[in-house]
């Protein structure tokens, strides 16, 4: 009888599949967990369940057709992905776009970031176990979606950027709607803090969980809010300003603790910064052309091109090797989620299964972006 309680009892490691159809993996991602009881010893990421060969499809399409494919990478930052391709082609062809286009693109990008972070905040609460936040975040997100639907014509895959400008001019209600949104956000964002940020259960689930040091963050190539939670300064909007980011005043949100709670705080602060950026631009949208005429068939001069932008998840890069034909010889997307997911093993080792759900939520992965 002693043996059942004494030290002679041994535990053994076993494997558990988390996903590919698991609600907490935010898409079709399969995690192979090596467990001892509930303690995680190793995490293997298995990708490829939603591979659509978008990079290969780009080699078939012309540059104008490529733009709409990038909507389907990181669908929560669809507008910013479009912008990356458009900026790359405009840079390569030396097309100087008007100030109006730059300002419209910047406002739309920040609205996209707000909508993405609002969704993240709602889902974050839901992953931890608080269903209410989901409904509250979608209230604000619905306003942003309405703005997109009225001006761009779609709610998620906007495809609003075209090479040489934007597809339509701003709708007449745009400024009015954005101002109403900003007023509501200023009122509701403190409510977000009261609901989750100060909540003792929520903080116990995040503080000290999923720690990654600054050195490790750099070594793993983390980027975006995930790296800024570890104190790495990596905001592309600051390092390589594009569109109208060089003329607005904003603060890069950096926290140095390196745990899940720091990454949470980074995104909350980024929402405030996005509100601040839009406020500076919304009253002075310059007059001018909203779309420049381009050739019907665009051909890039032979060479290599790279464009980096800051999406809601981090450093999104588009690389093109052109041989002078109508479609690129090779197109490569550098997705922020891929590098961030790679550090999951480092973050989750020695923690419990429920903590993996919290960490996945704070690194904010979008699986179609990782798999492409």
């Amino acid at each position: 009888m002693e043996d059942f309680l004494g030290e002679n009892i041994k535990t053994q490691e076993y494997f558990l599949n988390m996903g590919p159809q698991h609600p907490a993996t935010h898409g079709v991602l399969r995690l192979l967990l090596k467990l001892d009881g509930e303690i995680v010893h190793n995490v293997d990421m298995d990708l490829g369940y939603i591979h659509r060969s978008i990079e290969k499809m780009c080699e078939r399409d012309t540059y104008k057709q490529i733009v709409h494919l990038t909507d389907r990478l990181d669908y929560l930052s669809a507008h910013i992905n479009n912008e990356a391709v458009c900026l790359l082609v405009e840079d390569a062809l030396n097309i100087e776009v008007s100030d109006r286009i730059k300002v419209i693109r910047t406002i739309m990008s920040e609205l996209t970031r707000l909508s993405s972070h609002a969704l993240w905040w709602g889902v974050m609460g839901m992953d931890i176990g608080a269903l209410t936040t989901f409904m509250y975040a979608f209230r604000e997100r619905e306003l942003i979606n309405d703005i997109f639907e009225e001006t761009c014509g779609a709610r998620l895959t906007m495809n609003y950027n075209v090479i040489g400008g934007v597809r339509y001019d701003l709708h007449e209600n745009f400024v009015k709607r954005v101002k109403a949104l900003l007023a509501q956000l200023k009122q509701k964002l403190p409510e977000y803090d009261k609901l989750l940020t100060g909540n003792v259960i929520f903080r116990k689930r995040l503080e000290g969980i999923g720690y990654i040091s600054k050195e490790d963050a750099i070594a793993y190539g983390l980027n975006g809010p995930t790296a800024r939670g570890s104190g790495v300064s990596c905001d592309i909007r600051k390092i390589h300003p594009y569109s109208a980011y060089d003329r607005v005043d904003f603060e890069e949100s950096i926290f140095t603790e390196g745990d899940s709670y720091a990454r949470y705080k980074v995104r909350i602060k980024e929402m405030w910064q996005s509100v601040h950026i839009i406020e500076q631009l919304i009253d002075k949208i310059p007059e001018g052309e909203f779309r420049h005429k381009t050739k019907a068939l665009i051909k890039l001069p032979p060479g290599d091109y790279l464009q980096r932008v800051e999406t809601a998840r981090g450093d999104f890069g588009v690389y093109v090797h052109s041989d002078g034909k109508k479609s690129p010889y090779r197109m490569k997307f550098r997705s922020p989620g891929f590098a961030n997911l790679a550090a999951l093993n480092k973050m989750a080792k020695g923690l419990k299964i429920a903590d993996i759900v919290a960490i996945l939520s704070t690194i904010d992965i979008v699986v179609p972006d990782i798999d492409r």
Binding site: N159, G198, V200
Partner: protein
């Protein structure tokens, strides 16, 4: 001592959150002021989409059942997914004696369309337009393949393409 202060602080933070949710609950229970949910299938008749909403690609017809498509197939060539198929026929123009194209069927594969809008942009005669209908769900893939030109429709007279 910290055991008790933890309990007090924890309870306080929970009550802060519950004050917000409780506030919304009772306010909306009585006045329904902040309720933004739409009762979707019930408001189907009154639901109006925005003008620019991209629901589907349509071929515009005027009141005489005439469209503006001269079967130049630019849309078919531009579509990245092969969602459009233009089937045309040749006929001899009696006035000039030259061969011209006439549209037989403008086939639209909605199941392949990504609503990128390139076909509408490139159309030289502005024949294609966005439709606002979004009720596309169906049990069978075949129902999503549509013929855009209405039966018996003709080209607008004097169309320059």
């Amino acid at each position: 001592m910290s055991y008790f202060s933890d309990i007090i602080q924890g309870t306080k933070s929970l009550l802060t959150g519950m004050r917000i949710t409780g506030n919304y609950f009772f306010k909306n229970f009585l006045t329904r002021k902040d309720v933004i949910t739409q009762q979707y299938p019930d408001n189907k008749d009154t639901l109006k989409m925005f003008d620019r909403f991209r629901g589907e690609v349509t071929l515009a017809h005027n009141e005489n059942n005439e469209h503006r498509c001269d079967a130049c197939t630019t849309c078919e060539k531009t579509c990245p997914n092969g969602s459009l198929e233009v089937i045309w026929d040749k006929y001899k123009d009696p006035e000039t004696g030259r061969n011209k194209r006439v549209l037989v069927k403008h086939i639209y594969h909605l199941e392949m369309c990504t609503m990128c809008g390139l076909c509408i942009e490139v159309c030289p005669t502005n024949a294609l337009e966005w439709g606002q209908d979004f009720h596309h769900a169906s049990y069978d893939r075949g129902q999503l393949t549509k013929v855009l030109n209405k039966p018996g429709s003709k080209v607008v007279a004097g169309l320059k393409g």
